[in-house]
């Protein structure tokens, strides 16, 4: 059975109230759903004996620079046993963007979520240690957001005195 059909069947069986958007492009399967069920769905994707997406390869985000559903958080998953990949994504609103942390499901998501918080300012609820990854602690902006200028804001990062 194709991965897409298998996913569709298993997910609608397990979560009958949630609507899932499954697309396939050149053999790459993407799954999109409401952000409120991200933790139970991810737990299911990891622990189901047929799917077993046991490796979280990357967590990142997209800034669409639009009013509705401004951000999209993207998770890249890999099943070591089945050798299949899956892209999971959830839309997030612009005002106080936040989503539940999946670091309890995959340990590796811990630092990926810190990176996403650093770069996009998306809060991950329930994250054990949500600190900045790359920029210094005093930095006030989130540089991969579209409103942040490429050259930065003068004086936002301190330099040593000459």
């Amino acid at each position: 059975m194709e991965i897409k059909e298998k996913l569709e069947k298993l997910l609608t069986e397990k979560f009958p109230e949630t609507s899932f958007e499954l697309t396939e492009f050149r053999g790459e399967v993407s799954l999109k759903f409401n952000k409120s069920v991200v933790v139970p769905v991810c737990e299911f994707l990891k622990n189901n004996s047929e799917l077993e997406y046991d490796q979280c390869v990357d967590v990142t985000a997209i800034d669409w620079a639009k009013k509705k559903n401004r951000f999209t958080v993207v998770y890249h998953l890999f099943s070591i046993k089945n050798k299949t990949r899956l892209r999971v994504s959830c839309d997030i609103e612009e005002h106080e963007p936040h989503i539940d942390s999946v670091s309890s499901v995959w340990q590796s998501a811990n630092w990926y979520e810190r990176e996403t918080w650093d770069m996009y300012g998306i809060k991950f609820d329930g994250h054990p240690d949500l600190r900045r990854m790359y920029m210094s602690e005093e930095f006030e902006y989130h540089p991969l957001r579209k409103e942040y200028p490429l050259m930065g804001i003068p004086g936002d990062q301190p330099l040593p005195k000459k």
Partner: protein, 173 residues
């Protein structure tokens, strides 16, 4: 024979202290290898036998700033790294010189973006800007020869006005 025979025979050499000190300094410029990124590979090639930086008396790359005369800043300096570079520069004893190796260090280069300092002269006094991405080892040797020329022509009185650094207070002590 030559000099020794002359000296035994009541001979003497006249010179200035500046010339003597300058000659001694220029012949043993010990570099601080501040290898931050890819330019450091060319810096290592310069130290290798093919280009052989020891022909110029600079083979002693010390990984402690206390024993160094010239800092080779080889690589992209980010805002976070700038504080480290400045701290190491401050730990070097006077007199000291700085070579900004490569375009990233000199101007920011192709990294025209928020995390990269657009030229280390924003926080350091630079003596030589070295073009290239990365510069070839012979290019670095040319920069070193330029530094030697500068050291040779430096007079001792030029260092008299350098103010001492104020002691840094830690935790209010």
């Amino acid at each position: 024979m030559g000099l020794e025979a002359k000296l035994q025979n009541e001979g003497f050499i006249t010179s200035t202290i500046d010339a003597l000190v300058g000659w001694a300094r220029e012949s043993s410029v010990w570099p601080m290898p501040m290898g931050i990124s890819c330019c450091a590979i060319e810096m290592m090639a310069t130290a290798g036998p093919k280009y052989d930086i020891s022909r110029f008396g600079s083979e002693v790359m010390r990984f402690t700033p206390r024993q160094c005369d010239v800092m080779l800043v080889a690589g992209t300096v980010t805002y976070k790294m700038a504080h480290v570079v400045r701290k190491i520069y401050d730990q070097m004893p006077d007199p000291k010189w700085v070579i900004a190796m490569g375009v990233c260090t000199s101007t920011g280069g192709m990294y025209r973006s928020y995390p990269v300092v657009q030229g280390i002269d924003n926080f350091l006094p630079v003596d030589i800007y070295l073009a290239g991405c990365p510069p070839r080892p012979d290019n670095l040797l040319h920069a070193l020869m330029k530094i030697q020329e500068k050291i040779k022509n430096t007079k001792a009185r030029e260092f008299q006005d350098i103010p001492l650094l104020e002691p840094v207070k830690i935790n209010g002590n």
